[in-house]
Symmetry: C2
Subunit: 366 residues, 2 copies
Amino acid sequence: MDFPIDVKLVRTTLMCTGGATVIIDLGGFVATVTEVARRANVSPGIVSRLLNEDPTLRVREDTRQRILQAAKDLDYSPNAAARALRMSRSGTIGLAVHDASNPVYTEIIAGAQDEATRAGYALMLADVDALAQGGAIFRRVISSGSIDGLLLQRGDTDADAFVSRLTEKRVPMVVLNDRTEGHLGSVGVDDYAASMLAMSHLLGLGHRAIGYLGVDGALPRSELRRRGWEDSLRAAGVPIDRSMVVNGGHTAQSGYEGMTTMLARPQRPTAVFAANVLAGVGALSACRDQGVRVPEEMSVVGLHDFPLAEHLSPRLTVVRLPLFQMGARAVQLLLKQFDDGVTHHETITEPAPLMVVRESSSIPRI
Amino acid sequence: MDFPIDVKLVRTTLMCTGGATVIIDLGGFVATVTEVARRANVSPGIVSRLLNEDPTLRVREDTRQRILQAAKDLDYSPNAAARALRMSRSGTIGLAVHDASNPVYTEIIAGAQDEATRAGYALMLADVDALAQGGAIFRRVISSGSIDGLLLQRGDTDADAFVSRLTEKRVPMVVLNDRTEGHLGSVGVDDYAASMLAMSHLLGLGHRAIGYLGVDGALPRSELRRRGWEDSLRAAGVPIDRSMVVNGGHTAQSGYEGMTTMLARPQRPTAVFAANVLAGVGALSACRDQGVRVPEEMSVVGLHDFPLAEHLSPRLTVVRLPLFQMGARAVQLLLKQFDDGVTHHETITEPAPLMVVRESSSIPRI
DNA sequence: GTGAAAGCGCTAACAA
DNA sequence: TTGTTAGCGCTTTCAC
């Protein structure tokens, strides 16, 4: 790799000794369009247009080759900041979730990653809860043009209210795993159908007293799941018993506590539907600690599958939903919104909710 | 909020009807230094210096107030791209991991998030394995100045070799959860001590035939853990039996397979040390499927704690290491490297490795 | 104390 | 088919 002897190129990387120019170290050297252009004996404009595949550009084959070669020689890579400044687009999308360690979101994130990569976008990660204390950085990321759009997991906390206020109208957004109206896009899965599926499994097994380990808050997805539980019961002619509803949160610990509460009630169910897998895991361990055998004395079904479900004891029966696909689709909808400027709402139904029957559910045996 | 009637401000946000100017919508309007400066009747330079707290700047109190007020009125936020272009620093650090769903990395990421936020940096997420196919985006992120530095989980795959080649000398890097030499910084935990701790627990319980469910590859951390196993055994006068070493990988599934293999061997151990928590979880379920009772017939100890360990059946005994702190420290070391230009290596020993004894380990009862 | 001007690297419009 | 130019928004140096 040889450079023309040119003062412009002598950064910290070249050293002039007497009349000769010696290349000391290429590390840290970064070529610009101008340098590529000079090396190929063309103007920067052409280089830019060629490298960006401008369809209106007509170049002679040999010029094209010269440019390509020069870019390769100099290991050219466009400066993102300059590009972003010029084009007012950063090529980055933000991803704000509450709990990146929750396997459900882990799966959604993976899908988003995959699709973003495919579309040539980088992903920027933010922790919604970190905002409570450190709002400044998030604020900066949102209002500084660092991201072209945002994928958001909406919860029901103060932090969420803060985020919404901050981002609305500032940046195109798609809300993950939920339904919204109006100016925020959204992707969800069919929570209601999933809930019905889980319930029909339990009902089909012969259960009548089915508890619901739900998630607090008034988010559409929580409400949809609860309604699935309620409607199924009603359709089966089972009267709704409010004492069968307990908050299970979205961690194993909170699920454990919720299940413990439920087991302490006078009217014990013979089965439980946990609206969150992790809560389901906690329910399993609560049963064990209370000496309640699963599935003999208590069936447990969780919403959303995850790798460890198969390695629990007993293996957890779940309804599997297309989380990865949802993440991927979220990116697509955001990209579409960049183009047409309108928000999109979609429920991912492909693949359809799947009942994964494992060991934690069976016919009632008491 | 009123704007001076000024053509520069009439973007898509203001509409001129006849002689009057009406504010239609502020959404999407973004103020620049120039606009703030004009509103405060000063020059852009001062605004910049004031807002960036230039210590050499001396302004009259009332000018300061005017500028601050103007910035507030216009809801000014500096444009990240312009800033990055001018300063050659993006304020972003990259994070490249293999498996963001692995609870171990989840914890490290959380620590990095926390510290990055504190230091005013945003975090960019990349999936190392996505590179195998989609290297282009990663390449762009690395060589385009989008990130000031990179936190990297190093594995032992082709993708890793690719990443190393691409990033070395291009961007300051700190390798996570391992030790390196030379021009890459690194943070690790005391894998050897952790391994010794797990083994002394098992040895202290009276076990002599202790299997090792390891991780393939020649990474320092894997080697350190294996040596901890070996040295402990040796120190206790137990001859090293190669058939006691099986690959358990880093997923529950691979751990399941590894443990199944181990159980099929003629010489069955009475205890197993899994160098990876998830492998430990798989080991538990393999034992169950083979009808081996834990801990009565087989003790299982995992390396690294995670929330679900407490909700398994039996609850998994583990050695807990300061993962969150490691993630946070990684960011600090990277920042330090930005300043002094030299790579740092550190082993996080605070808090010290902790033996968390739960239900999967006991004295040998066979 | 404050203003003016240059320029980071890029792309897009217009000239030639 | 290719070159020239302007300017995105910011920081920084130098002049007043």
